[in-house]
């Protein structure tokens, strides 16, 4: 094991160790826990930045050891993986800060933060996994570490949500497992290599490969909340806001989308997948999900529910981008992986701020919130406008690339889906903004939390503003080096030039 492998391991270990220590800490050691947690998050972020620079300079980061003959445990940092790692570690830091403020007086904090860190560790593992086996390992770990977070409140409703979550994800995980094993039987250990490794396979096995692809996509689609498999996501909204934020922006749904990206690009290879005719149906499934999620979001009055359905819709943008054959569509999908994360986490932070500070959960009660909480509302506005795809916010960049990508792939109908979805996004986000900014509250606010210097606790406000700023900058300065767009282009140049 060389130094680079060790760096990789320590990225994983920062949150894993943090998780263990925090789980063991007594409930009352608030300061120690917070300091430890934040230190781990910052350390991880620094390590990740180091690796990002390394990956940029084409340094190899790899760590592998054998589990059973023919099956290795591989961690590797490539451009695609490190992008996801960067997102997770950045947002982990913010979410941790947020959660410290959010759960200030709540019970079970050790458990919460412990599993929270574990969740991030598994996300990082998913991102760094170098083959399907390792991916699967962390994928299931993610399922397990998220369950305690979903049921954290311990109410009937949250337990029910947890149960549904488990039904879906464990079933999906099992399907994925079968797909992976079947692939192993056919071709042995499937490492992720740019351009895929299956194209040379005997043509008589192609139908089998299609079946396996289907199985894996369904398995991954559960987490990515593809249309018929999405029902767990809105239910999981009963979890505390930082959890929803993390689930939606980074961990769970992204793990699914990221997995599909891995399968398409690095296992099958985009060209081979295209020649098997797998991308078209995937695009159709993603499009249906996009429209369906938006339609359902229209009718929700619960703010977090509406955001949840919006997530269902938005995550499928990523899958849509993946399924567009051609570099531009790929850039669109990958860049949306980051953009959606930044925007959605902002929105959930804001929803949490409203809930915690004002005790407001429903959209119909948000009248005049802009006056009471201007900073939060500005952040919410940025996130919402970004989701609609209004320039210069991050969502616009994704949409632009997806649109051009769709056209270059010869799938003009996708453009119609994108526009329709934008219209629907506008239809369910703009009324919220309208209520926040232009309606007057007719009652006094019942204040949920004692106020600090700002409109709400600084722990809650700072991460919200930071992520909102990132969402703005990611779009506004998309042409800057190391912006999400820049990095997505780097990935694509490495994927397609194989």
């Amino acid at each position: 094991m060389d130094w680079n492998g060790l760096v990789l391991l320590s990225v994983l270990a920062t949150s894993l160790v943090a998780s263990g220590v925090i789980l063991l800490l007594a409930e009352s050691r608030v300061v120690l826990r917070s300091v430890f947690n934040l230190a781990a998050a910052v350390l991880k972020l620094l390590l990740v930045l180091w690796i990002i620079l390394g990956v940029y300079r084409n340094v190899d980061y790899e760590l592998r050891f054998t589990i059973i003959e023919g099956v290795d445990f591989i961690l590797r940092a490539d451009a695609l993986g490190i992008m996801f790692v960067g997102l997770s570690s950045l947002l982990w830091l913010f979410t941790t800060i947020y959660a410290i403020g959010y759960l200030e007086r709540a019970p079970n904090r050790s458990r919460f933060f412990g599993f929270f860190s574990l969740c991030v560790a598994s996300t990082v593992g998913i991102a760094l996994a170098g083959n399907l086996f390792t991916f699967l390992l962390f994928y299931e770990l993610l399922t397990l570490s998220t369950y305690p977070l979903v049921v954290h409140r311990g109410t009937r409703e949250s337990l029910r949500a947890g149960q549904v979550y488990l039904y879906y994800t464990l079933g999906g995980g099992a399907l994925l497992l079968f797909g992976v094993v079947a692939l192993h039987v056919l071709v042995g250990d499937t490492e992720f290599v740019p351009g895929g490794s299956l194209s040379g396979i005997d043509p008589s096995l192609h139908p089998l490969l299609i079946g396996i692809f289907l199985m894996m996509v369904v398995g991954l689609g559960v987490k990515a909340a593809l249309f018929p498999l999405h029902a767990w996501l809105p239910m999981a909204m009963v979890a505390p806001a930082p959890v929803s934020a993390l689930l939606h922006a980074v961990a769970v749904v992204k793990a699914g989308a990221f997995g599909i990206a891995r399968v398409v690009y690095d296992v099958y290879g985009i060209e081979f997948a295209y020649s098997l005719g797998l991308l078209g149906p995937l695009a159709v499934a993603a499009s249906i999900t996009i429209v369906y999620g938006s339609l359902r979001a229209l009718t929700q009055d619960d703010l977090k529910k509406r955001l949840a359905f919006s997530t269902i819709s938005q995550v499928s943008y990523i899958i849509l981008g993946i399924s567009l054959f051609g570099p531009v569509g790929t850039i669109g999908g990958l860049v949306h992986l980051l953009h959606q994360g930044l925007m959605k986490i902002t929105l959930f932070f804001c929803a949490g701020n409203y809930a915690e500070t004002l005790g407001v959960h429903k959209i119909s009660e948000l009248d005049g919130a802009g006056e009471r909480m201007p900073a939060t509302s500005v952040a919410f506005t940025l996130g919402a406008l970004g989701m609609i795809g209004i320039p210069p916010l991050a969502g616009f960049v994704s949409k632009w690339y997806l649109g051009i990508g769709a056209l270059s792939a010869g799938m003009n109908w996708v453009l119609a889906v994108l526009i329709l979805s934008s219209l629907l996004n506008a239809a369910y986000f703009l009324p919220i903004l309208y209520r926040i900014w232009f309606r007057k509250r007719d009652r006094v606010w019942c204040e949920g939390k004692a106020l600090g210097w700002f409109e709400t606790s600084g722990w809650l406000l700072f991460p919200t503003l930071a992520t909102a700023a990132f969402a703005l900058i990611a779009g506004l300065l998309a042409g800057m080096p190391f912006s999400p767009l820049y990095w997505a282009e780097l990935i694509v140049s490495r994927e397609y030039l194989q």
């Binding site: 500005v378 406008l385 632009w400 690339y401 649109g403 051009i404 270059s408 934008s422 998309a478 042409g479």
Partner: protein
């Protein structure tokens, strides 16, 4: 002004309002930002007056790599836009400062201004679209400023149409951008050529035409205009009607494949739509009972005339240079005049100590301009007509165009007469702060003088031709006045609601909502049935499970040995049978 100064000025024009908007987000600075807001347009105005076209600044980090710069045409647009924003800002600062939303107003003002200037200066598609969107959406905040029911309704209609328009524009831009040399960093100048050869040419043209048409008041997309102009604060209405409506026009100018061959059909369609707007606007406008509504329909009507020019350009590319000048002059003239008229609607309400006659002269100047009697108006009409009749090969039906435009001018005259008449009824109702006067005076002066500044931007107006066209310009005015007098004596306005056809469409959302509610009613009902079934099944299952569970436990415990014996016996029989 040259070199580095020019580049800095290019950056400052949109940068200053944007910077002010950003500074505004610090609560402590807000008090100081408010008074500065009207002056935010000044850098742009200076740039328009003293800048040289041709300079570009590349902002590689912005969006996909943005470029800003000026061409001759956009410099004219920048001039009147900046001037109108400046004047409207000065006009509004006094009475808005006592408003309780004035802080919010300030930031939306600055953002809209940034967008408007940005879209004029943008050379690449992404920044153009971004600025356009910024302007569209920030303007919503200005429209609904006073929070009245009418304002909110206007805002809603405006927003729906704006979102639709933005989507259409995006479709058009994406489709077009793909065929440019650099699909990911497309430049505006490459668009027309790309569109002309695109396989989806008609779809692109339709999207862009309709998308920008939302701003430019195309028939059936115009609803938001009268509603917004009537409901928004007057300075906003002036900016909307003067500057922002021209953003739609600019959108057409920079994106549509003007000057490309083979678009006769589109030319015809655009001309037809323009004529419908010109006459329809006049017809509906004269029936309105509020000055601002009359002005709004006048804008629609005027934009219809510009549409005719655009259509002509599409049909006969060779007329391009002439029409470009005509359209630019028209835009300048109409923007300034309309802004002056709008500001005038408020000025007239204020009680004044000055002689009233000066006020009415001031109010009359832009009205006269619009009907084509002031130098600017005359120049505009004659240039347009000259351009339309200059071509060597003209389509048949064009022969009647000058006549039709003349008739439209009749309509304009009637509208202006109606407007002044209605203003008279509103005069002198309340006090005006002096600032309101300054803005109005500035813009009114500009309506007179603006047209003489054209040489500054390289446009040499044909004053001789204009003078020669004077007699021709008189008959529509005369006809219009006669009509107006007749109407005043014997006709009563029809009760046409402010957003005309929209009223017919209003049940539509209601119906959709009703349908949604029906779904909402059936949805839970279905869910309830399903849940009931589920509960039933679960109950059954639980009971069965319990029974089976008990039975199996019992069976296995009791008879496991028996089972064992059975298996043994079977095996024994099997074994013996072999023996």
């Amino acid at each position: 002004m040259s070199g580095i100064v020019g580049l800095v000025a290019l950056l400052l024009a949109p940068g200053v309002p944007l910077a002010l908007a950003v500074l505004w987000s610090f609560p402590r600075l807000r008090r100081h930002i408010g008074p500065l807001a009207p002056w935010a347009a000044v850098p742009a105005l200076l740039l328009a007056l003293f800048g040289q076209p041709g300079a570009t600044v590349e902002l590689a980090w912005l969006l996909f790599g943005a470029q800003i710069g000026m061409t001759g045409t956009t410099q004219v647009f920048l001039f009147f836009t900046a001037l109108i924003w400046f004047a409207a800002g000065i006009h509004g600062r006094g009475h808005l400062s006592k408003d309780d939303h004035c802080e919010r107003f300030c930031v939306f003002w600055l953002l809209t201004l940034t967008g408007n200037i940005g879209l004029i200066l943008a050379l690449d598609v992404a920044l153009f679209y971004t600025s356009f969107a910024l302007m569209s959406f920030a303007a919503y905040g200005l429209i609904v400023h006073d929070g009245s029911r009418a304002a909110l309704r206007a805002g809603r209609v405006y927003l729906v149409l704006a979102v639709l328009g933005e989507s259409l524009i995006l479709i058009g831009l994406i489709l077009a951008a793909r065929l440019t040399d650099a699909p990911l960093v497309p430049m505006l100048v490459d668009l027309p050529r790309a569109i002309a050869v695109a396989p989806e040419r008609d779809l692109i043209i339709a999207s862009l035409w309709l998308g920008f048409g939302v701003k430019a008041g195309l028939p059936l997309l115009h609803f938001s205009l009268p509603l917004a102009y009537a409901a928004a604060p007057v300075p906003v209405a002036a900016a909307l009607a003067g500057a922002m409506i021209k953003a739609g026009l600019l959108g057409w100018l920079v994106t549509l494949p003007l000057g490309q061959a083979g678009l006769q059909d589109w030319g015809t369609i655009v001309i037809a739509a323009g004529l419908v707007a010109a006459f329809g606007g006049a017809l509906i406008g004269v029936n309105q009972t509020r000055p601002r509504l009359v002005l709004a329909y006048s804008s629609i009507s005027q934009m219809g005339m510009v549409s005719v020019a655009i259509g002509a350009w599409l049909s006969v590319p060779e007329l391009g240079p002439l029409l470009a000048v005509a359209i630019t002059v028209f835009a300048l003239h109409h923007a300034l005049a309309k802004a002056a008229l709008f500001l005038g609607t408020e000025v007239v309400r204020h009680r004044t100590r000055r002689p009233v006659i000066w006020l009415w002269i001031g109010l009359g100047i832009p009205a006269l301009g619009l009907v084509g009697l002031m130098p600017s108006g005359l120049l505009t009409k004659t240039t347009l007509k000259a351009a339309l009749t200059a071509g060597s090969t003209m389509p048949e039906m064009w022969s009647s165009l000058p006549l039709l435009l003349g008739l439209a001018a009749t309509g304009t005259t009637a509208l202006m007469a109606r407007h002044l008449w209605l203003l008279r009824l509103e005069a002198g109702r309340d006090d005006a702060p002096p600032a309101a006067w300054h803005g109005w005076a500035l813009i009114t002066a500009a309506t007179v003088l603006g047209v003489f500044m054209l040489p500054l931007w390289g446009i040499r107006p044909d004053w001789m031709g204009a003078l020669a066209g004077l007699p021709n310009a008189l008959w529509p005015v005369a006809a219009g006045l006669v009509l107006a007098v007749l109407a005043w004596r014997w006709l009563r306005p029809w009760p046409i609601p402010p957003a005309d056809v929209l009223v017919l469409l209003t049940p539509l959302p209601g119906l959709v909502l009703r349908a949604g509610q029906a779904l909402g009613v059936t949805g839970p009902a279905i869910q309830r049935v399903l849940r009931h079934l589920q509960a039933l099944a679960l109950d059954r299952y639980r009971r069965a499970d319990h029974r089976v569970g008990r039975a199996t436990v019992h069976l296995w415990r009791r008879d496991a040995p028996l089972l064992f014996v059975l298996i043994l016996a079977l095996l024994a029989i099997y074994g013996l049978s072999i023996v």
